[in-house]
Symmetry: D2
Subunit: 339 residues, 4 copies
Amino acid sequence: MIIQLEKNITEEEKHLIVEKMLDAGYKSNFVSTQYCDYIIGVGDKEFDIRAIGILPGVKDIHIVLEPSKLVSKKWKTNDTIIDLGDGIKIGGGNFQIMAGPCSIESEEQIQATVKHLLKNNIRIMRGGVFKPRSSPYAFRGLGLEGLKMFYKHCKKNGIKIVTEVMMPEQIEKMYEYVDIFQVGARNSQNFNLLDQLGKQDKPVMLKRGISGTLDELLASAEYIFSNGNEDILLCERGIRTYEKSYRNTFDINSIPVLKEKSHLPVVIDASHGVGIRKYVEPVSLAGVIAGGDAVITEVHEIPQKAFSDGAQTLSHDEAKIYYQNVRKTFEFRKTLNRY
Amino acid sequence: MIIQLEKNITEEEKHLIVEKMLDAGYKSNFVSTQYCDYIIGVGDKEFDIRAIGILPGVKDIHIVLEPSKLVSKKWKTNDTIIDLGDGIKIGGGNFQIMAGPCSIESEEQIQATVKHLLKNNIRIMRGGVFKPRSSPYAFRGLGLEGLKMFYKHCKKNGIKIVTEVMMPEQIEKMYEYVDIFQVGARNSQNFNLLDQLGKQDKPVMLKRGISGTLDELLASAEYIFSNGNEDILLCERGIRTYEKSYRNTFDINSIPVLKEKSHLPVVIDASHGVGIRKYVEPVSLAGVIAGGDAVITEVHEIPQKAFSDGAQTLSHDEAKIYYQNVRKTFEFRKTLNRY
Amino acid sequence: MIIQLEKNITEEEKHLIVEKMLDAGYKSNFVSTQYCDYIIGVGDKEFDIRAIGILPGVKDIHIVLEPSKLVSKKWKTNDTIIDLGDGIKIGGGNFQIMAGPCSIESEEQIQATVKHLLKNNIRIMRGGVFKPRSSPYAFRGLGLEGLKMFYKHCKKNGIKIVTEVMMPEQIEKMYEYVDIFQVGARNSQNFNLLDQLGKQDKPVMLKRGISGTLDELLASAEYIFSNGNEDILLCERGIRTYEKSYRNTFDINSIPVLKEKSHLPVVIDASHGVGIRKYVEPVSLAGVIAGGDAVITEVHEIPQKAFSDGAQTLSHDEAKIYYQNVRKTFEFRKTLNRY
Amino acid sequence: MIIQLEKNITEEEKHLIVEKMLDAGYKSNFVSTQYCDYIIGVGDKEFDIRAIGILPGVKDIHIVLEPSKLVSKKWKTNDTIIDLGDGIKIGGGNFQIMAGPCSIESEEQIQATVKHLLKNNIRIMRGGVFKPRSSPYAFRGLGLEGLKMFYKHCKKNGIKIVTEVMMPEQIEKMYEYVDIFQVGARNSQNFNLLDQLGKQDKPVMLKRGISGTLDELLASAEYIFSNGNEDILLCERGIRTYEKSYRNTFDINSIPVLKEKSHLPVVIDASHGVGIRKYVEPVSLAGVIAGGDAVITEVHEIPQKAFSDGAQTLSHDEAKIYYQNVRKTFEFRKTLNRY
């Protein structure tokens, strides 16, 4: 059950709703986001929702039986649009390309990438400064100083930043320099991190877990939303299977399933989803035609010299054609008939 | 090592090649197909292939280190084209839609489907008469009589037939009525069946195993080719994973990987690949844009009444739009740039 | 629904049962095995089974809602015992070790193995003569001649033979020389093969599919039973997962689950289940303590020289200790308390 | 490369080692644990280690090529023993049972459990106070107050506590009340959490990720060790597969593999590893006979009333027999022969 509340609802009116919900067998959870206040009723008894719908202070009420309620399309049938400012939007018919290196490596690298993005009219740059690495002896990123450098060059060129946050303590320090907080696959069920990101007013891009189910992905998004942040992007980045001829198995089925189940935009990460340079384009185009709202792709001036993930990274020259094809495919998708 | 032989090679010349190969540390396997004769050398020593290339009776020689040799793109860089006659071709830029019910159920059903296919200009009909079913108590198909009925209506309307063969003994009886022998996922490594299909001169569509690797799929195709049949279609139909929100996980990565590794055409089976009606179209389009040479799709006049697989079957009305979108996507793919 | 019939039931009495079943909404399947005649009712309506239980010709009637009925413990609560003659039994408290090479390679190898088995009091020898191999260029076994040689040496030493059958045509030729027909993992859902094995009166050992579910394994066993053969062994041999530090993932959970769901004996194949020699023993002992009724293990005089699977094969010296530990573990299992 | 340093090594001596390592092409990482100081050399050039072995301040030097070095058995061939005080040890021949509810629910529940453990001579109690839950609306544990209550009753009865920590900020607050910090499956690659736990001087039990590889598990343990904490327990708790007849697939193969690769003790969690009450015992015994050093098992006075995981939880009565069988199996394991 999702009850949208009027802005000017009184405490007494709230109290009354909670009591009526309890009578109907539902526990109430208060959620207050940057856009609206809600009461989420958790229970499974059937009852006539009009009895609550007519109460003072109630703007609207919807039945949502799914365990993940606020992220469900059952109550919010319009697509969520993530607005990054400067006319840069994702979702609801707005398509974006996010590109950049796996890791931020140096000021020169940032500058070369920014130049490349500007030339190709890309408005969002990716790049890790806190890198989750399996081995403690591997390069773990340039950290906050790298992020500030990253920010300096993007800010003055009107480019937005998406970068991974790994723990709650980093959020505050990163906040000023980040446009989209990325949650990595290994942190997809780091619930404390999700709680804290739910308390921010900046968008969060949530990657599916390494072998996460789609229901788990939506439940993790529900953590963020129910803590107060409605601006969430879901990211498909491939799952772990037995197949060894590529890195991960990009789950193309997930795209229409997520678009059907949720109002949140879906981002295609084919770089990790297949993990081999020459296959990144066909898998990206597949994701776009199947319904993706954005792609996020690893590019590097000299992929062979990248600190990490070089094998799945496009060169700037390859990327130029790639962007054209991605955009053409998105335009083409709009011409398809519907049944 | 693949040695293509001249048509008029003598036994003595063959003998000489085998001896030279043995000297170089290679075991020779003779392969004689409907198109050419080959000697396949199995070994791993390095040697100068020109020593054999210059022998009398040798048309060409290629180094192929992959375990699956004849199906590899390493020696045959042009795409294989499957020619079904009447101008119906698959591969090498020729695209086809195969459609029809999961199971052949009745003469009325066949007629309704044929009418539907003709109206939509589809030239290949699918439909099972021998059905592999997990339970011995389930409907197992109309058998040979069903196939003859199927053939009668397709033959007079110029429609080709693709249908599953389950065991070697069925091949001879089915031969007259079949245009493409389908090998199902559960028989993907039924090597005796593959051996026998390799001795036919009609095309074989080989489905990937339920959790088969791409290398296993190519090795199974090698069985067919090395027994004498070059006309093979590879079919991606989804793999088994942990995800429960759909039936199988369609492996979109497999499409560019197979197109890169092999010269054989690749068929997209999104009906089984996702298993839920409303997702069949986006997954099919994804498969086509990623490089598929054909789609095979379950359609039924009244999916709710289908004997099997109703939940993943399109109605004839839905299918009409679906075909249009599939064809538009194939045409669109040709307009993409290459890097 | 499982109806056991009296031996002397008349056609009229059968007819009456079928009619009564139809009235209750159940389709009847006749099953006649080497031990008993049955009618299997397939349906899902509830009704009072006593109405049929009292009919003439009915020996007993049981409700079995599971899709796999005859193999279920719901109607046959006593464990099935496979009796190979000469006092060699499996199941119901009878434990056996089956051992031998992956492939039968030569007469010398058979003799050496038989000597080793006799010394260690092993009564069942394994060894493949028809080998399913991914590549058509690999060694595919010595075939029927190999089997006859195998038989000659085992017969005179009182050793039983378990060996793989790959297609229906082989059954008749192999029949005389085989004590247990083995169905390999790749043929676990080769339903035509299962049908034919169901018509034999010799035991069948059915391996779980490469990524087969336990319900699929039981359904495949149901094929054999419903065709007339009650003597079935289920074999756990590991499943395909993402983990790369060994060959297959032995599914230890499957042992108690299968023993709970079915009355059929369960065989532990740790050789394939882990695929690395030094881990075969701990995994075998785990399988035995969890409830296994037999183990099947690859042994070879000189594993390094085995034609196939050498890496997972125990030497005769290692095997000697292995057998002792397996037997001790089975004896120990009997001393455990039950709750 | 692992270089163990003398306690009284000087800064100059260290400096000299680092230089020599650099000359040999190795980067040095300093590790200082509660027991010893190390230099970990990361590189892959071959060189004569004696050149460094003879330097002043070097106690010992070992070649370890594996990416996870400190946790490898290649340099430390003796099993690590975790000493919890009061004679309670795990590893190196010391076996323990850890038992208790999934979640700490109330003081009464703690008292009932403690009584049950004392009666059965169990010295370590499990129980979650911070619970990772897929849904934000589910019970998330009693938190720090619950832990203090938990501690109060265990402390006075000589029972040690193992409980899950979910984020770095919790460590300090929990420190006083915890004997073993548990890292849950979802946090198995939460590298910041691992870093911080590496700075503690209390043992850490690290669960394998939901679909984590064994190499990833060892790499996560390496994070803890390389931050300064040698007291690590590895816990197998089942992996996610396609099989639906139980909760997770307990990976029995992992037990001998981990015992072979690492000197760290291995804990068997069959409660999560199979997830169904009646199968917990056979899977636990399998894990013990395969080499486990401890079991951790969910028990509850009335499993049906447990706040979480009731379906996989043993009653106190069932647990009594379970403990006896687990202990008997451990004793039995010692009687097995070795080859």
